[in-house]
Structures are given as structure tokens and as C-alpha cells.
């Protein structure tokens, strides 16, 4: 296991009482970063750290708190609201800030009353993207997803020969990544039916994709690959990600250069980045199934095999407009465990992405791809859950779905929960489908 420190002690408690509740996503052991402002204030975005049901405003805390000189140096540039200032720092500096925040928010801290003035209730805040995202790469690490989708798009050839050698990935669109809560407009596009000519209309097979987003830390210079042994030092943290997909646009457009308009109409990212440091107690081995080829040397290391995988639990829920109108809670569609879903570790993604010299930069986003588990009911998309729309889902209120209707809200949840560690969560990643333009 990766070395733990005092910030991971499950016995730690905070003077922010809501952080001590068993069901909070944000105990003192988590301390994820995000960007927020008081709702409706129209003010510049500020960097915050989630603690219980509060946000610690780092610009204000830099003034309110008592910090040593090195921590003060890390906090000062964050007042400008650009999280990349911290993301680009070496991991040791990020750990230093985490330790200082953990001390200052712990129930042993000397001056809770003073720092309390830096807290804003999350209920009074609105959130934006955790950082400016330069480039967005989406990988395809979910092997069960790849096999199932492959069987729908290419029945003769579901899992392609490169899959177990190459961490398959492609470039996504940065401009249309939106924060949780931002509506997703149903895309219009070319739809190909049985006729020779495609028709143009709103996508009828709108889907979600359950993903993790890895946010890049320091990054590398162009032409200088990152070796797998140091790859994780270049990751800052993890946020939940929904890579919305229009399956009917996708199946017509995707050859030979891959998905384009079927994906770039919107991707939803959660407001909170859970740091790699916070995830240290939730690292697990990754062993390939017997008979699979060993990873190529640039994708392999003893450390990666020993604790390269993340033990994160994921779940997707749907609340239709009818459910909302009737006051019904969202219905869970599926749940999966990352360690069972992903064929490649985060460190392997970084090493692969840069083996050709491609440069990663602070704030870049690496999507995991859809993280479907191996069992029925663990699929991370409707495409899989309904077998390409052939088998509709029955919802608890009697409604049926193959793909998403206007007014449907999809929410992704994620959490880590292992013996000996305090449970931490990722906060919700949620969005509602709006009708296509002009069809209101």
C-alpha cells in the first residue's frame, strides 16, 4: 500500500461538525478541491475545499488562518482562482498543503473560531469546473464496456486485437465540458436508418457514460515521455465524469476517425477533485486475468501491479420528470467497482499518453472510459443495460426507458469505503436533459 500519514487517520475529527457524520462525502480525511462562489453573486470564482457541508474559501482562509511561511506561499496564488497554480506544483508541496489544511480543520486545532469565518455553506454556493481544462482525452479502460459495446457495433469483432496491448484513447472536446448541474441539450445530428440517405433530427438514442476523470498535475515538456515509475506524481486527483453520448449519431459518424458530434455536445464533470493523496488508503493491486499478455515494459512496474488500481465504488441513478413531479426519489440504474471494471491503471494512462512525447499540462483531463462491471446490472451506460435498446428498463414507477427522455436527470455517485479507512466520497455529478433547440 502507498504510505499513509496522519491526514488519513480514521480517528481524526473536525471542528466542522458536519464533517464527522458517517454519511458525509467530505470528512476531514478527504479535503477535495473545487471552485465556487456564493450563488447568484456573480463574483469571480474562488478556490474552495469541501469539509462536511461547508466549503473552506482558500482566499479568505489564507488571511484568516495562521499558516507557516511555506504554506502561505502555496495559498497566496490561489486567491486568483486558478487551481492550476496548485496542480502544477510537485506532489510534495501538495502534500504539505493537505497536512496544513488537515491540522487547521481538525478538532485539535487551536483557532477554529478564526477560520470559521472562511466557511461558506455548500447549500449557499454555486460551482464551476474545478479548473480550466486545456486538453481532454477520453480513454477506454472499461474492458467489459468495450466488449459489450463492441459486440453491438461489430458483432463479428467485439474486442479488437489491440485492446490488451494499447490503452485505447482518443481526444475529446474541452469547450463543452460543463459543471454538474448544467443542463445537457439533446443534440441534433445525422441519423442513419434503413434508407440510403441519413435524416437530420434530435438524437433518439441519448445515453450517459459512467466515468472517472483524472486531472493532470505538473505534466511534461513536449518530446519528454513520463516513465510509469513517476507517472502518478503527474496526476492531481479524480472527479466524477459523465461523457454523454448520442448512440445514433455515433454509429453513423464514427468511422474511420472515431466519435465526434456524438460526444462533444456536452460532458458533465463533478465540482470536486479528490486528490491522489486522499485516495492513498484506497489503492489495490491489479492483476491481469490468467492468459492475458503481460503489459509492455513501458506500461509495467512492480508498484503498478502492487497498488496501481483505485478501489472506488460508482453508482448511477435516474430521476425522470414524472418521478420528480411525483416526489419520487431517483432510481438506481447500476453500480460498479472500478477495480473490476478497468483494465488499465491511471499510471498506465499517463505513461501511454506520453510515450510518444505528447505533453500533458496542469488541468488536462483524462477520462477513464465507461466503467462497467462484469456482472448484469453493473453496466455504466444504457446502451449496455438495454442491449442496444432491445430490452427496455422497467423503472419503479412503471415508466420504461431504452435511452434518455427529455427531463431525465442522471446522477453519478462515487465513494471509497475500506476497512481501516474513513469513508470518503466524490460529491454528485448530475445533469438533466433539455429538449433539442426549437423543439421545446
Amino acid at each position: 500500500m502507498i504510505a499513509l500519514d496522519r491526514t488519513h487517520d480514521p480517528a481524526l475529527r473536525s471542528w466542522v461538525e458536519s464533517a464527522n457524520r458517517a454519511d458525509t462525502d467530505f470528512p476531514l480525511q478527504n479535503l477535495p478541491y473545487g471552485r465556487f462562489r456564493r450563488a447568484g453573486s456573480g463574483q469571480p470564482w474562488r478556490i474552495g475545499v469541501a469539509i462536511g457541508d461547508q466549503v473552506l474559501d482558500l482566499a479568505r482562509a489564507a488571511v484568516d488562518g495562521a499558516w507557516d511561511a511555506e504554506v502561505a506561499t502555496l495559498l497566496a496564488p490561489l486567491a486568483a482562482g486558478d487551481l492550476r497554480d496548485l496542480m502544477a506544483r510537485p506532489a510534495a508541496q501538495r502534500r504539505l498543503l493537505r497536512a496544513a489544511l488537515s491540522r487547521a480543520l481538525s478538532s485539535d486545532a487551536g483557532q477554529p473560531a478564526r477560520l470559521a469565518a472562511s466557511l461558506v455553506p455548500q447549500a449557499d454556493a454555486e460551482f464551476t469546473l474545478p479548473c480550466v481544462i486545456g486538453d481532454y482525452t477520453d480513454f477506454y479502460t472499461g474492458i467489459h464496456h468495450a466488449a459489450t459495446v463492441g459486440s453491438l457495433f461489430r458483432p463479428d469483432n467485439p474486442l479488437l486485437p489491440n485492446y490488451k496491448w494499447v490503452p485505447i484513447g482518443y481526444h475529446g472536446r474541452s469547450s463543452s465540458i460543463v459543471p454538474s448541474g448544467h443542463a445537457i441539450v439533446r443534440p441534433v445530428g445525422q441519423l442513419k436508418g434503413a434508407a440510403d440517405a441519413p435524416r437530420v433530427g434530435p438524437a433518439q438514442r441519448l445515453d450517459y457514460e459512467l466515468e472517472l476523470g483524472f486531472l493532470v498535475g505538473p505534466g511534461n515538456a513536449l518530446g519528454a515521455p513520463i516513465a510509469i515509475g513517476v507517472a502518478e506524481e503527474h496526476l492531481f486527483g479524480v472527479a466524477l465524469l459523465n461523457d454523454w453520448s448520442a448512440r445514433d449519431i455515433q454509429s453513423w459518424e464514427y468511422q474511420p476517425l472515431g466519435p465526434f458530434l456524438s460526444k462533444n455536445f456536452g460532458s458533465t464533470i463533478a465540482p470536486w477533485v479528490v486528490t491522489m493523496e486522499a485516495l492513498a488508503p484506497f489503492r489495490v493491486p491489479f492483476e491481469r486475468p490468467a492468459g492475458d499478455p503481460a503489459p509492455l515494459p513501458y506500461l509495467d512496474s512492480a508498484a503498478n501491479r502492487a497498488h496501481g488500481m483505485l478501489d472506488i465504488h460508482l453508482a448511477v441513478s435516474l430521476q425522470t420528470r414524472a418521478m420528480r413531479d411525483a416526489g419520487l426519489a431517483p432510481a438506481r440504474l447500476s453500480a460498479s467497482a472500478v477495480r473490476e471494471a478497468a483494465y488499465w491503471t491511471p499510471a498506465q494512462l499517463v505513461a501511454h499518453h506520453t510515450i510518444n512525447g505528447c505533453n500533458l499540462q496542469a488541468g488536462d483531463l483524462l477520462g477513464s472510459g465507461t466503467l462497467s462491471g462484469p456482472r448484469a446490472g453493473e453496466a455504466g451506460s444504457l446502451l449496455e443495460l438495454t442491449l442496444g435498446g432491445e430490452r427496455p428498463l422497467q423503472l419503479p414507477n412503471g415508466e420504461r426507458r431504452t435511452f434518455l427522455d427529455d427531463g431525465d436527470t442522471i446522477t453519478i455517485a462515487g465513494w471509497c469505503d475500506r476497512a481501516g479507512a474513513r469513508r470518503i466520497g466524490f460529491g454528485p455529478c448530475s445533469a438533466t436533459v433539455r429538449p433539442a433547440p426549437g423543439l421545446g
Copy 2:
């Protein structure tokens, strides 16, 4: 033809004498934008306009020149060095600035001596990317390229059924776009031979791709498509682009999600953006070959048919290390005309990219894809010129090439030359291949 104005008058002459030479890329009728600084100065990048063999420093010209109030308002923010401030402006404002610059640099101008202090010789300058590029999309408009490459990658299925309906495109990597003159490091990657397992090594089939890059102007809000009738107002201009490609990495990695590491190790863009306004005299009709389907309504307009295409000539040349050492000039590899190479117009690319609500932003780059002409010797890549490496090229000094060697310099040139208009050019887009890391 699109309406011309006084700035296009072929009789116009400049007091910058080098702009009046017949062979300059940058006569008074061109006025492309770029970013530069005095070579070796290490100063912040400044916005400049090319005129003959000089650059007009806009920050300095804002002070040196005599401008009316509206032009001064356009020039003022450019002193910060971000061309997107101008790109995001409505086309009418961009035209206003062009007219003012044309007047000030014309031989009829009242105060040439005063503005002369704002000139820097191009030979004394170094250049960076013309703007910060947020998202990079690469299209595949070259139908002869698509058919030839398709026949090499998929002999049974060269031009896919979607090609004449969908302007095929995919997302590229922004971080690794580099300015002309920046060396390109040969990428390392997975190479798949006859053996079951791929090997890892430097790409052996390194290639260039002859492209135009369209730089986005104002752009659109997420969820709000741009109609084809106004699509060109959202384009700022055109720069030469070389989308370097590693064919051996590509053929192994590209299914099912498209090219990734085979492309994102580096793309070279020319320093100068020739504006859509400067290209007005070089607009031509685009008619589809008889028997081809009509474009779908969102991709069709009378204006697009009448003058949607650009009449730009392109050429690629190669200078090997041996040629350089022997003092031999670069050898031309191919030449093509955009109007014969491209199946989709720039306006169609904008309308397609946004039909699903995807948002374009000032400074985004849309690559044309490889612009190969229909005839032998007009192909825009070595993959095509050598039939997948089967037929080596014979160079004038006796060397042979299938793909690129270390030390090879590829230079793209582009120009417009039609009766009744002053010839304009795009400046060189050039880079030299460096050996893969550790293989000196």
C-alpha cells in the same frame, strides 16, 4: 463573388517597399496577423501584421499611428498580446481594422515616417503560435486523400458510406501544436508487425500531412448551432498546417476510436493567419461531381455553392540533411489546389461542427485534413505518394524516401493567384525531424 473593397485593389502600393515586390507573400492586400518578438529578446509575445519583409508591431503602432477612435478601441487590447481579443470581434470590426491598416500602410498615407518606427524586420523576429488554441478539430475534407488512404488501410472499403454525407472530423491535441520552425521529435510507440505482440520503438513510417488550418472567430454558445448562412462570420482566417502522422503507430492503435498517439506528438502551424477578408478575391464555386448526393439542408446554401470554396494553391517540399549539407535547395514533393482537393467548404465545417450544439470559441483550430489533388504528384502525404511505402520517391540528389528520415525538413507553402487580384501568400510552415529520445 464576395464583395470586394478598396483593400483588395491590385493597384494598391505600400510605402514599405518590400511589400510591392511581385514575389512577396505579404503585399498590402494581404495583412495577415501573427505573434512575434525580437529574436532572443525573451520579451512577451506581441501581435504583428506582416507587410513585405517587415512586421508591423500593433502595440507600438497603436501609439505611433494616427487612428480614429473606433480603430484605437480595437487596437488597445491587442497590446496584451492575445489575438483572440480581435478574433472574437464581429466581422465588421475586423474589416474596419483591416481598412485602417491598409490606409496607414499605403503609399498614399500621410505619415509613413511616423509608423515606420513600428516596423520590425521579419528576419530579426521569432514567432510563436498565432493565438492560444483552445480546441483543435481535424477534418477529413480531402476526398482523394480519403479514398487513397482508405484503400491502403481498408482495401475492401476505401471510401466509407458516410463520407459524402458527413464532413468527417475528430478531435486533435492542442497542447502539442507548435509554431513553424520548432523541431518535431520522432515519436516512440507500439508498432505491430507480423508477430502477435507489438514491439515498442521509434516510428519507422513518419509522415507529414498537407493541411489548411481555419482559425475560429466569434464562435457560439453551447447548445446554439451556427447556421451555414452565417458560418463564415465565425471564421477569422487561415494558416498553413502540417499534421505530422506516424503511420505505423496509427494502423495499430486507430480502431475503434480513431488516431491518437500517431498524431498528437506534434502539429506545425505557420505563424501567419491570412484573414477571411484577405481571401475574398479568391472565392470560387463548389459543385459536387454529377451523381453525388446533394448536401443535407444544414450543409447547403446558394452562397456556399456560389463561392464557398477557397482557391488556394499548396506545395510541399523536402530538404534532407544531405541536401542541406550540400547546399542543395529543397525538392518539391507535390502541389495541389484546394478547390480540387476538398469535398467540404469551410462554412460547411462550421455548420456541421455546431449542428449538435457544440460550442466553438475564438482561437479554436479546424484542420482541413490532407488536401491531396486528384492527379499523380498531387498527394499531400508520403503515405499516398509512395503507395503506403511500396514505391520509394527518388530525390534529385539520388536519395530515396518512403517515409521521413531524421534531419528531413518539410516545408509547406501556400498562395492565392487569380487574374484581377494581387497575389498573396501564407508564409512558410516548416519543421525538421529530430531523432527519437535516447537514440541521438
